[in-house]
Amino acid sequence: MPPEHQAGDESPGPVQRPRTSGGIFAVPAPIKRLFDQFPLVTYPANDLPLRAPQNRDRHVLYIFATADGAESGAPSYNPACLKWQTYLKFCNVDFATVSSSNHASPSGSLPFLLPSSADISKSAPPVPSGKLQRWTANASASPVEEPSDLRYEAYLSLLDHRIRRAWLYSVYLSDNFTAIAEPLYILPTSRNPLVRLTIAHELRSAAEKELLKFSAVIDPDFLYAEADEAFAALESVLGSDKWFFEAKRPGLFDASVFAYTHLLIDESLGNGWVDERLRDLVLRRKGMVTHRNKILTTFFK
């Protein structure tokens, strides 16, 4: 009892003291008077910067492209971006393209898509490329159904590995680097020559590292031979059909093929091809050229 009594006696002291002195956070009277002299002005909101997103009512796909190319919806110069750009067109999704770089992407790589939102205050989360197919299936009025062919995965691996590796070598490690990779990927990023040099070095060593994961040496003849076999296999599986795997409408596979064949056939890519070995491999396959031209004239007008 006695200790409780003591505590009860002492507790009002420290609680009441700050109340009487106004506390340490209270504004002293002279300063308060000084600040009361100033009127409170609310400025009007600033205008949005010119580069701020203008069209929130459309889906926006962020891709590698030149500023003019993005405005007009021209094909991207990066295979991964072009693949999804083409696929969205196949699915009749209305979207705008914006030129961007890897640093802008939440996942660290392009492309990604910012879905439109009616309500500006809560914007939808960005869709990375890995989830674009599922997103398209929900967003599109007429989604493309992928053919359930058992060979689908196998032929896709030809594109994703053999042709991709040959592409990596051809664009980043061969003589094409100065003619294609430099004007497209390096020069737009910076004007500082040292920064440009660093980026060029990083790009080349990244491509080299990627290729060295799969073989101890990078042998262009072997890479091109593999790519040639892959193109031959793709041409023969296409046969005389209009689209791959006898589909009625072009699908993701056609988009993946087009992403490489279009860029390889496009003679004005960057400053033009210098090492044309990979390009010649495609040009020899008449079926692939026809397939590419069909998509280009139908969907990229």
Binding site: Y155, L158, H161, T178, A179, E182, A230
Partner: protein
Amino acid sequence: MVLELHVWGPAFGLPSIDADCIAAVAYFHHTVPPPQWILVADIQTSVGPQYECPFLIDGNARISGFSAIISYLRKHPSRPYDIDYGLSQEQQTDRTAFTSFIQTTANPLIDLSLYVSSDNYSSATSSAYTAILPWYANYTIPPARRDLARARTAHLGLSSLDVHAARQDGSQSGSGSLGSEFEGAKRASGLPTDSRLTNPKMLSMGRGKGVQGLLSSPIYAARFRLDALTNDLLEPLSDLLGRKKYLLREDRASSLDCLAFAYLALMFYPPVPQAWLREVMTTKYPRITKYMGRMREELLSSEVVSAADVWFISSHNGTDAEVERARHQRGMHLPWRPKSDQTRLSTSVFAIRETISNLPLIGSVLQSNALIHTSVSKRTRKPTSALPSPLFINVVFTFSTALIAAFSGMAIHHRNSPRQGDLIFRALRPSLGFEGFEAGNILSVLAGPYARMSTNGV
């Protein structure tokens, strides 16, 4: 001319530890008659990886890689050995596609199972390498191959397999009480422990964490991903096999069968503790498992290759007849032969080279360029780069290095012989300005402007 096939040494009862090498051995064993080819257990150095195993030596020609070897044999000048003879056009394109499919889908699985998973690596893979590598290479080659496997599977986000599970468990259970610390110390010093901590994984599984805790422990969380990856490979293969005897046709094996067998065998046979690949194969794809057993019988005569026997043959110094006799005594069907150039000198040179090339800094300097440049004959124009030229960069680099070296030299010199007495500024007459310019006397030149300024001020 005898075809000489070089492969990684045998492991897990299979003729090689590498899938492409197994495929090449299976192809040769099935296609080329015995006296016309020999098999050499080789190791691939990290210095100058000019030829990657498997590689084929035929006279002066050297071909490396499974698909390159096959296409070379198909067009072999003396007698074409073509297992794929008679495939239709469609079957040939399917062969190309599925070859690439198996190589790219099965490789990550084997990487994860044999190299990335620390449990499996420490208990199965590293000991398998010990049996086929000379002692000095054990410190360099297996870790290098493991790093490569990690890099190849990094994009799958399954690095959670790569934890030292045993150590983690030990530290968790050892953090509790004094008694468990004592047990931990006993275990660390190699004494037998008598508590349940001797098998912490069995007992602490899911304990006190509930089902969710169990599922979120690394191996179980990864298990869902792993099963999905395995299905990605086995489902299309199972569809392709269907009710057929072989993957592509009914009556005869093809090169695709050799490759499929090699990868499936490395997924199935290694005695690993985390055997999720084998579990999925036996439970969900019995047809594939049966097919693999059949292929082993047909392509390799079901021979269980012993690493010790092969090691004995490859380090044999006797004549061909002696090697042949030793091979028959051990009942080895595959035509193993010793490495041709095995002198003590070359071995020690190799060991030293291997060691030096794995030292940090020095190794990166010595690393030979892995990029083969081929000249393009029809080059029409040389593109001009907008980037600064290498010459300019080298000049700038040399200049700045020289500058830094000069300054540090000055600093060291100054530190070794600090100035005695007071600092005195002297006004140098312009005509005498450069007479005092010596390496050690450079400070007086630096002091010059200040001195001149002070005289002007006065």
